[in-house]
Homo-oligomer: 221 residues x 2
């Protein structure tokens, strides 16, 4: 990042982008754990250790991909408009996840035990959280404020400056939709014949309507 505008800088940036492109292809087909620097180098036309001119190693490449994935999700959220509601965000999230399941898992899936995300990615992640919090801070279109706006007793002051009620809403938004999405993308619903999209929509309804929505039959929508 921050390549200078010199010819060499432009070249570097382009090759870096090309490498990441190939990496994404590999991840989409075989998952992040099967990502091979040698295979990427072969495909780009470089020979092995040349990749280390562009990335310090496999970890740095993956970190860069994680950051790109976060940025991609942030951009998708941003494209929904600054005043997007939770329903829009939920729709965007599902589309983003289904568009490249392995990218979703790269961000929200099983973490590598030793790996600690650098400050960069937590920054980007908190930006996404901010978008979500904004949507959750906006009052619901219908009726009075739902009662799940109670503050979180876990700490004296939440890290984000959002109302505790919005944080609570954002949290359940995140966990419930991730619960459906991750199990769906992992294939845990195959065999049980129902449409995960309906379950997702039902959970979204439960999130947005004052009454839970769990009582609604899945035939809705």
């Amino acid at each position: 990042m921050a390549e200078p505008a010199t010819p060499r800088g432009r070249y570097r940036a382009q090759v870096r982008a090309e490498i990441k492109e190939c990496a994404w292809e590999q991840i989409a087909t075989a998952g992040a754990s099967a990502l091979s620097l040698n295979a990427i180098a072969r495909q780009v036309g470089l020979s092995g250790p040349a990749l280390y001119r562009y990335f310090a190693g496999r970890d740095e490449l993956i970190t860069e991909l994680v950051k790109d994935a976060y940025r991609s999700l942030g951009a998708a959220f941003g494209a929904a408009g600054p005043g997007a509601g939770v329903a829009e965000l939920a729709h965007v999230l599902r589309g983003w996840a289904l568009d490249d399941p392995q990218r979703y898992f790269l961000v929200f899936g099983t973490p590598v035990p030793g790996y600690h995300a650098p400050g960069d990615v937590t920054t980007i992640a908190s930006e996404i959280m901010t978008t979500l919090l904004d949507a959750c801070t906006a009052p619901l279109p219908d009726g009075p404020e739902p009662s799940h706006a109670a503050p979180l007793p876990g700490g004296p002051a939440p890290p984000h400056a959002a109302p505790p009620a919005a944080l609570r809403r954002a949290l359940t938004f995140w966990t419930r939709l991730h619960g459906v999405l991750s199990l769906e993308l992992a294939g845990h619903f195959t065999g049980m014949d129902f449409d995960p999209a309906l379950l997702y929509a039902a959970e979204l309804d439960a999130l947005t309507c004052a009454d839970d929505g769990r009582d609604e039959p899945l035939t809705h929508r």
Copy 2:
């Protein structure tokens, strides 16, 4: 499995168990993706290719570990008693997950794209689903049946012979608790100071009470 009662059979079974023991240690510390057959062999006192006398390869070993993990969860559910309610099961699930997060991820985490679970594990998995369905079929202790008992329109007949309402309940039980658990275990809540256990308990409340429970402040319980 199905080792004969001969001396050699007993020895084989014991070495197999010892290998799996070491594998679990490795997984607990470094995750399943970092599992190394050579390292296991070294630790067991065998030298490299000797492991292939006991497991056809890395994949078969991991498959066996996945089956063991499923069996472990099934046993934990079973130990809660045949008439255990969803609250008990939720408590057992959380304890099982926190006891060995990597084991949880091995079962419910990011799948290997090429890998397809053999019939064995789906059988064991459906047994667990049956336990959960039993708990969800039992009527709620308080008040009338919640309205989320509506059937799933996704298919003509559900694969399990359970009432569609119970299946619906079991599904949201699974997705909501997995949503909290997986994000917690993956460390996505670190930094935001609140107690994931409270969020888990709140989601469980929402699952068991007729009113959603989302309106309850997290200070409960």
